[in-house]
Amino acid sequence: MSAEAIHARLYVPRDSAALSMGADEVADALVQEAGERGVTLELVRNGSRGMLWLEPLVEVVTPQGRVAYGPVAPEQVAALCDAGLFDEAAGKAGSHALRLGATEQLPWLQKQTRLVFARVGVTDPLSLGDYTANGGLAGLQNALQMQPSAIVEAVTASGLRGRGGAGFPAGIKWKTVLGATADQKYVACNADEGDSGTFSDRMLMEGDPYLLLEGMAIAGLAVGATEGYVYLRSEYPDAHAVLTTAIERARAAGWLGKDLLGSGKAFDVHVRLGAGSYVCGEETAMLESLEGKRGVVRAKPPLPALVGLWGKPTVVNNVMTLASVPWILQHGGAAYAAKGVGRSKGTLPFQLAGNVKQGGLVEVPFGVTLRQLLEDFGGGTRSGRPIKAVQVGGPLGAWLPAGKLDTPCDYEALAAAGGLLGHGGLVVVDDSVNMAKMARYAMEFCAIESCGKCTPCRIGSTRGVEVVDRLIQGQDRAADEALLRDLCATMTSASLCAMGGLTPLPVLSALDHFADDFRGR
């Protein structure tokens, strides 16, 4: 027990990944230990730094900057304090084995280029002061001085493409909405992050919610929309709580509402919860769901940019797309376009998931290879066995074999490798996993989640499960494989949306790369 009074400032994340590993219990234990040791504790609940295998990650502010400890179990807190955790605040280095050193010097963070996630894990997500002190609102303030067409031009010049998966240029979409004439326009943010292996939207909304609101407000100014909706999946109750509070505080501070930052211009945001339907991440199904209906896909055209929410012109963008916009308005489109490769400009927050040793969030420019992500950042598999395959881009993405790990991650290179980048999630499986089972699951998932509007998806997925089953049983392998490929061709070319249209991708990639798994070997 320390003799002189210590004032310690500590950070324990409130990100739901950290909470899932006991961050609240760690925070409670720290408060108790501080009380017993006569330490004045200032506890900040930040977002996550993205090193999720180290959660709960406790940081203590020292004269030399923040020092990290992790992963901290609640029952380890007392030992941490015995080993000098609180004394770090006075400049005396602690000695516990969980001490990782200066947070900013950790290689995992050093090797990243954080534009969207610059503040996540650093600040108190709900503090208005933290937000502005760390560069927040600069983009919106610039946008308020610009003509709508100039904002659209900046986003077009940045080369920003839709981060939900389709990769459509955001500036072109915005220009279409700007050019539409209507009494009301909307900005609809797609926060229905349903792809397995993805969590960047969640982390951003829990770790820096004002950034999303700022991006939506800029989009509103750019296209002449005064109302925005966030369609948030119900599986994210923590994000819902943070976002709801952030909107209330932003309104009270004049960052949203009838008079944006005193400009006289209006923009407000509402949150709506989904209800467990994967296909509602498809933009037109999402609009139906926002309108309170069954989440059934609409035929396109008309484009949502012209006939969107309640029939009005609507910008539909993913969380990451909108959260990229404030940086672009602050630093200019050219600065953003200077990062990345080819037609994939800027950075992408990749998510390392599944059987990976060091899972988490890595924001780097496009062009990084799968191997760099999975080996340099990810450290291989958690099980220690060889990587068998990685599914890039969620349940509708291809399974790429270990031999393709040198593929660069940009939209075009992944398409050329027979896959897609999607929302940047990477799910790793080791060599104990049977890929025929994963192919069957892809069809099964499509059967569960199909909205039912188009026949290839609604019926094809169920027939697909049956054919994969027969293929595995192996009574007439050649005929069943031909049938499966034919079915997949039909689904690919005749489905109304990406649900049925892309389900063949994981199925056929598994079949093409891991044919032995379909032979019961």
């Binding site: 899932s20 992050e193 292996g197 993805t198 709506r272 309170g292 349940p395 398409a415 799910v427 949306c497």
Partner: protein, 195 residues
């Protein structure tokens, strides 16, 4: 989910009526009431309160259903006609919404609700074995409620905790890296709090 990056936009307007999801695997089906008990006056009051509070919202049907389920744990059959009347929809419209979404239950769940992630990232680290353990040890397969009414187990497809799987949500709370022993401890703690 990814959009139409590969140019798979539909080639025309399909004039088929949307039909209910066919042959969805049993695990995703929620238990249906066999002989639904009539809603109590308190439940009817909760339904009417949710409607009164939210009916002026644009697209109010989903928010109202969420509010009713948050208050009661399920959506009683009586809610359909009341929501329809308030929102000027047909009962078929409301029934369609209620049964389309996986979240909404038409019957009360067990005292605790465990949602087990069945998506790829959690499968990669053993969620199938975890679900099998729940069924064997705690008496409820995915999609079912244990005989003693203590536990309802539901499938969920991604909780956004994909680096720390297998993940479950127990009574609304997210838990990561859940193996059989940790799950037993979580359930024991939850059930212990009932007493």
């Amino acid at each position: 989910m990814p959009g139409n990056a590969l140019g798979v936009v539909g080639k025309g307007v399909f004039l088929l009526q949307p039909t209910p999801r066919n042959s969805a695997p049993e695990e995703r089906m929620h238990p249906r009431p066999t002989a639904a008990a009539a809603a109590t006056p308190e439940q009817l009051a909760a339904i009417d309160a949710a409607i009164a509070r939210l009916q002026s919202l644009p697209g109010a049907c989903l928010p109202i259903l969420h509010a009713i389920q948050a208050a009661l744990g399920f959506v009683p059959a009586e809610a359909t006609a009341r929501i329809a009347a308030a929102l000027n929809l047909s009962r078929a419209d409301v029934h369609g919404v209620l049964t389309y979404y996986h979240d909404f239950r038409s019957a009360p769940p067990g005292r605790h609700v465990l949602k087990v992630c069945r998506a790829e990232a959690c499968q990669a680290v053993g969620s199938d074995a975890l679900a099998a353990h729940v069924a064997a040890r705690h008496g409820a397969a995915v999609g079912a409620t244990s005989a003693d009414g203590a536990l309802t187990v539901e499938a969920i497809y991604c909780l956004g905790n994909c680096a720390l799987g297998p993940s479950v949500q127990l009574d609304g709370r997210l838990c990561g890296r859940v193996d059989a022993a940790r799950l037993d401890a979580l359930l024991a703690a939850a059930k212990g709090a009932d007493a």
